[in-house]
């Protein structure tokens, strides 16, 4: 368990080979998800030991027939029904609490439209208008392997990243242009289906600078694995600089 800890030190923002834990959180929502994961793991650990030891005991101790004459037992049945019910309730409460918390959209300062297309993402910054009176929008394709620069990640980096400010309430509105895609960023705790004809929203407040990667998570065709999303979280002044360049 302590070895696993070494994998997480607030800079694991990408999937790593042999990585054993989740990516570090970069939003309160993702932090809540880590919390729920660990809570569920607490109960799972208990049940693993319970079932594991009982299995071991039945096979190993005394003789192979140790439970041979156990044909019925009302009390036992009562216990082995009640115990899982209790466990499920203990797991369900924190999960539902988080589920409804993630649905909350609190007065966003800016909105970004994300449109999933075969096979790229199209983004629109609806709150900002450029000199020609158009909203800022761009398509974001995966970097082909032969064009990767040093330090860029294969199948994860894109040509134009979504730049967003940190410590700001941001709302992402997700939809699909052709088939169903899924807008997913593990570090931020996102997973929203991009369904054609439907708008789904998710709000976040990114707590630290960094690049957060995600991959389309709804099988959408041959290049399903080649339409990643990269979110670059920067400080507000840097974000304004970026905005002026657009």
């Amino acid at each position: 368990m302590l070895i696993m800890n070494n994998y997480n030190n607030m800079f694991n923002d990408v999937p790593t080979p042999w990585g054993m834990y989740l990516q570090d959180s970069a939003s309160p929502m993702a932090e809540g998800m880590l919390e729920v994961h660990d809570t569920v793991m607490f109960y799972l650990m208990m049940m693993l030991m319970l079932v594991g030891y009982l299995t071991y005991s039945m096979m190993k101790f005394n003789n192979k027939m140790s439970y041979k004459y156990l044909t019925h037992g009302s009390l036992l049945e009562f216990i082995w029904t009640l115990f899982p019910v209790m466990m499920l309730l203990l797991i369900a409460f924190p999960s539902f609490m988080l589920l409804y918390l993630t649905d909350d959209v609190i007065d966003p300062a800016m909105t970004i439209k994300c449109i999933g297309l075969q096979w790229y993402w199209s983004y629109e910054y609806s709150d900002f208008i450029n000199d020609n009176g158009e909203t800022i929008s761009f398509d974001s394709y995966m970097m082909p392997e032969e064009m990767l620069e040093f330090g860029q990640l294969r199948l994860l980096d894109v040509d134009s990243r979504v730049v967003v400010p940190i410590d700001t309430h941001i709302r992402f509105i997700v939809t699909g242009g052709d088939v169903i895609h899924s807008f997913t960023v593990p570090a931020l705790g996102f997973k929203v289906d991009a369904t054609p004809g439907r708008l789904l929203q998710i709000s976040t407040i990114i707590t630290r600078e960094g690049r957060f990667y995600g991959q389309c998570s709804e099988i959408c065709g041959v290049a399903h694995s080649e339409m990643p999303m990269t979110i670059e979280a920067v400080s507000l002044p840097k974000f304004l600089d970026w905005l002026n360049e657009q």
Partner: protein
Amino acid sequence: MVTNTATTRIFGSLKKKIIKDIVVSFAIGIPAAYAWWYTFHVDNQKKREAWYIAYAAKKGNEQ
């Protein structure tokens, strides 16, 4: 209780075994669960909090 059989009958061993098995498995399971929580989870949480405190200090210096 019949005692004049060739072998002595054994009573209650089944119940005893179940109780023993359940008690032992909980005795392993509960500490294992708490070990997970207090070594991994709490440690991770502390690291995260420390990181954010350092991060806030760094951000404050830059401004």
